[in-house]
Symmetry: C2
Subunit: 344 residues, 2 copies
Amino acid sequence: MAQRIGAHTVRLERPPSVAAHAGLAGKKEREGPLGACFDKTFEDARFGKKTWEQAEQTLLQNALTLAAGKLPRTCPQPEAIFAGDLQNQCTASSFAFKESGLPFCGLYGACSTMALTLAMAALSVEAGAFRAAAAVTGSHFCTAERQFRKPLEYGGQRAPTAQWTVTGAGAAILAANGGPGNPRITHLHFGTITDLGVTDGANMGAAMAPAAARTIADLLRDTDTTPRDYDLILTGDLGFVGGALLRELLRREGFDLTETHNDCGMMIYDREKQDVHAGGSGCGCSASVLCSHIFDEMRRGRYRRILFAATGALLSATSALQGASIPGIAHAVVIESGERMTDR
Amino acid sequence: MAQRIGAHTVRLERPPSVAAHAGLAGKKEREGPLGACFDKTFEDARFGKKTWEQAEQTLLQNALTLAAGKLPRTCPQPEAIFAGDLQNQCTASSFAFKESGLPFCGLYGACSTMALTLAMAALSVEAGAFRAAAAVTGSHFCTAERQFRKPLEYGGQRAPTAQWTVTGAGAAILAANGGPGNPRITHLHFGTITDLGVTDGANMGAAMAPAAARTIADLLRDTDTTPRDYDLILTGDLGFVGGALLRELLRREGFDLTETHNDCGMMIYDREKQDVHAGGSGCGCSASVLCSHIFDEMRRGRYRRILFAATGALLSATSALQGASIPGIAHAVVIESGERMTDR
């Protein structure tokens, strides 16, 4: 049975294993520093489909199919899907899995969705509802641009603080008995919405950094751990602007992240060569990086304990037009492959 | 610990109580047959706010505040919020609870959201993650019309199969120890997406009925129960067209719902006098009806066992414009106030 520790963190007593995972990406992501790490990449933006929306559905489908194909024979196939995305009404996920025949739980956490789906799937497996459950999310540059920003054909200039929505997806299958050596989800932390009044939709990093700082500080306090207890504190997609803000915010609270922090939005593109300004963003950013490169490195032994906090900006085109501020959220999970950490 | 029974149903071992609940609605709903049952109703469509979107946020906030105010002193206040809505990027929920200071889990199930939030909140309490958790959702006629259909000013004529989006909201607070006499969530069933190819956005009942039939038939088979084992089989918002289709689809599978079925979309308006064509719809339809009238009647002893299946149409304005069909989903929970039913 799960146990609440501290204010908001949940400790899982029988931590589900990450039994299989897959990360996929588009062409621009393949040309970045992690290009060789993805399980599959696509050459064009439509993946042979008629619309970008259908391409995004294909990304999500492929992520789950590839992950399920890697499951050890002893591990049950997923019995439920926890998924979400950025398209209006989460249609990328709904359409992607409408033929799956599996119970489907739609989630919305904007770009924090990878952590939210992992947390919910882990909780359902811990609770005994499913022997195995899939956590899936992704995003597509072209669907996000047209929905949240401007028509691509307009060719608008991007602000220096703007991030580039990743075309990519990730899927992780959590299992009650995933075998030894697998990373395990040992703690989860549902984020508290934090809104400091940022209204600049071209600076999501600034809007999300306070939520990330809150979640990470709360989790460290709840578990009585320090940044040094983790091999990596990985944020979702704060990018270069939000990443620097996060480290500064946490430094003021007495947490030094200098040696342990990285951000999927800072890792996925080559800042000098790829013209992405403040880095990557979108649900697919942390999903594709975590479910390929990061989980692979955990299996290789490079990381034994990761605090993964994915961040989301909970705005819509309508809320932006109405002049509302941008609420941020950060959901987090602790992933461990070695000995379980001591928490209070 | 929860236990999977049959194909997809989850039996909760320590069923969380519905410790408190509140249902709110707008002016048109107050003029309907259930008008006197709501905890609070609003006179105008903006509730004194500047925009309809803000009015919808107010509905959700009020629902949770009113429910929390009814909690017995012995019951802990909610430690997390599970919420969702129909606005793009679920902004009604995010903005409503951004000052709550509580862990927030965003869910998307279209009009099935009341059952989805109840199921997720119940699972989190059963798992031990929270001592109490809130399930909240709602909808607003004006925000839904402008987002999914046509500008209100256009005054478009409605098809006979069209449903009227309810302005309303509901909140239920589930607790591990909610005291005796409270209704309890004893089973949950995450729906499987079902799409028979309906593309008519003015006939959501037809798009959702097959999903409702699937969920109800699966749950009855999984639990080895019949429709007569329930005092009420309550669907979310199939309305008159979808409700009739559901009963016909289930009759063909050998389940006779004649005596036990009702639908929140058929209950909330006076079909003859209120010009709502096929009935009510929207997340707020089943949320406001369940969290006021139905739970109240359970407490009065009229119903002891309810199968509540809320239905959702997983479309977006974009998917409709691109000619895609409308995937349906129905999430369900079994709510019992008396002796627990025998399942296999």
